[in-house]
Amino acid sequence: MTRVVNRIPGRGAGIALGLVPFVATALLYLVGSQVRSAANPDDKLLPTPARLAETLRTYAAHEDVRSGQVLFWVDTAASLERLTLALVISAALGLLIGLAVGTVPVLRAALAPFVAALAMIPPLAILPILFIVLGLGELAKVALIVIGLTPVIARDISLRAGELPAEQLVKAQTLGASSWQLVSRVILPQMWPRLIDVVRLQLGAAWLFLIAAEAIASTDGLGYRIFLVRRYLAMDVILPYVAWITLLALVIDWLLRQLRARAFAWAR
């Protein structure tokens, strides 16, 4: 009898095993919603699949009576726009600061303690400041995500840059590299895959900040909608929205992984 740690499931068995928790959760929900709707056809807590589909259709395929917009897609576009903008800005800033801290000792001395302190500020605690200073527009929401993500990305990149073997950097210098060439031709190219990894890891935090910002001050967006309909206990809206957010996050994650695998084949 082989040890459990050595028993590796085949491809088919692996997929089947992976599906088990999903199916179990779905079944649990189905049973729950059946039981509740049998007792009360107007139950709000666990709406039936038919009810969920109906509501989703109203939101995704019909114009809203009041605003004339198809809310589901308007919300999605608004949230994705904020999220991508914030991800791009924080990745760029984080990479820049991380490279500076990780490669230039003078800049490390000047910036590392500040970045470390900055990273400890709970971004949600300064959300009011952002709203006061930047107003309630898009800028404050994007800024919240950027403030939340940039220090983490910067610290990760500076750590990774510091982990490059000293031998490699010495070698590059013996090949004639200047400081600038060392960063641009040796260090930066090796940081790209790492940048993608850290952005992937920070996707969860990014969504958290996005939804928090939208919940507090917004007129559209996935987070805004969820918190708006909460007042009416509209689980039939909230659940599809949450599922949709999860799906979007998974797709973004998958896209980043594909990008890493294709663009940086050497890093596998």
């Binding site: 073997p165 000293a166 031998e167 490699q168 010495v170 070698k171 590059a172 210098q173 013996t174 090949l175 004639g176 590299a177 200047s178 600038w180 060439q181 641009s184 031709r185 040796v186 190219p189 090796q190 940086f264 084949a265 050497w266 890093a267 596998r268």
Partner: protein, 249 residues
């Protein structure tokens, strides 16, 4: 004309003396092999030569000038590992040195200059037997291939001094004979002095025109770090050289 001169060279880390009173005169185009027990300061001597460390006392000169306090293009180095750049292909690794020196800002070459650089790289890849691996990344190469790449990568820059820090220490014993032939070929084809540290005395005799043994002469059992290594043997291996050049010619 001496290529490398050490005059009363000391290196210590705090109380810990590693090298004491090293005096050497190394001529041009010598192949210096440095042997000694682990921790005797072989690698420290190379680190001093490449500029990763500064002498604590005394002088270390290359062509009459003190070694600059940072690594530079006239001194190539090959470490036991980690040398090739993982994000560049074999060809990219070979081109890097040429690109860095002729394109200060972009660090890249284009057009005719790039083609010329590729021709030069291909010639050397042929010599080190990596032509077929030219498009591969270092992670796809064996340890021996990576070392050959790392050596070729330094040699293409035509350094004054090539420093090899136990370059074959991590390799399969079966591979070292090929590597020896290769390094001698490259050494005789280029006007450079080679400094190579090794554990292997036989290798040191086989390759060197000059064999240097580092060892502690003085011991204080109460303070094991108080004394460093000196040059205990400094042998000129002339006959071997002529024989070898004849063999490789």
């Amino acid at each position: 004309m001496a290529c490398v001169t050490a005059k009363g060279l000391w290196k210590s880390y705090g109380e810990h003396v590693v090298l004491e009173n090293i005096n050497l005169e190394i001529g041009e185009h010598e192949f210096v092999t440095i042997v000694g027990a682990s921790g005797c300061g072989k690698s420290t001597l190379l680190r001093l030569l490449v500029g990763m460390e500064k002498p604590s006392r005394g002088a270390l000169l290359i062509d009459g000038q003190p070694v600059p306090p940072e690594p530079g293009a006239n001194r190539g180095i090959v470490f036991q590992q980690y040398s090739p750049f993982p994000h560049l292909t074999v060809l990219g690794n070979m081109l890097l040195g040429l690109e860095l020196r002729s394109s200060r800002f972009l660090g890249r070459l284009f057009g005719e200059r790039r083609r010329a650089a590729i021709r030069k790289a291909d010639q050397l890849l042929e010599i080190v037997g990596l032509t077929s691996a030219r498009a591969k990344y270092p992670a796809q190469l064996s340890g021996g291939m990576q070392q050959r790449l790392s050596i070729a990568q330094s040699v293409i820059c035509e350094p004054r001094l090539l420093l090899l820090d136990e370059p074959f220490g991590a390799l399969d014993p079966g591979l070292t004979a090929d590597m020896h032939k290769l390094i001698l070929e490259l050494w005789s084809a280029n006007r450079m002095a080679v400094f190579m540290t090794t554990h292997d005395l036989q290798e040191a005799f086989h390759l060197g025109t000059r064999l240097i043994v580092l060892d502690k002469v003085r011991h204080d059992p109460q303070a094991p770090d108080a004394y460093g290594s000196r040059v205990t043997y400094d042998l000129r291996l002339h006959r071997a050289t002529e024989l070898r050049v004849a063999l490789t010619a």
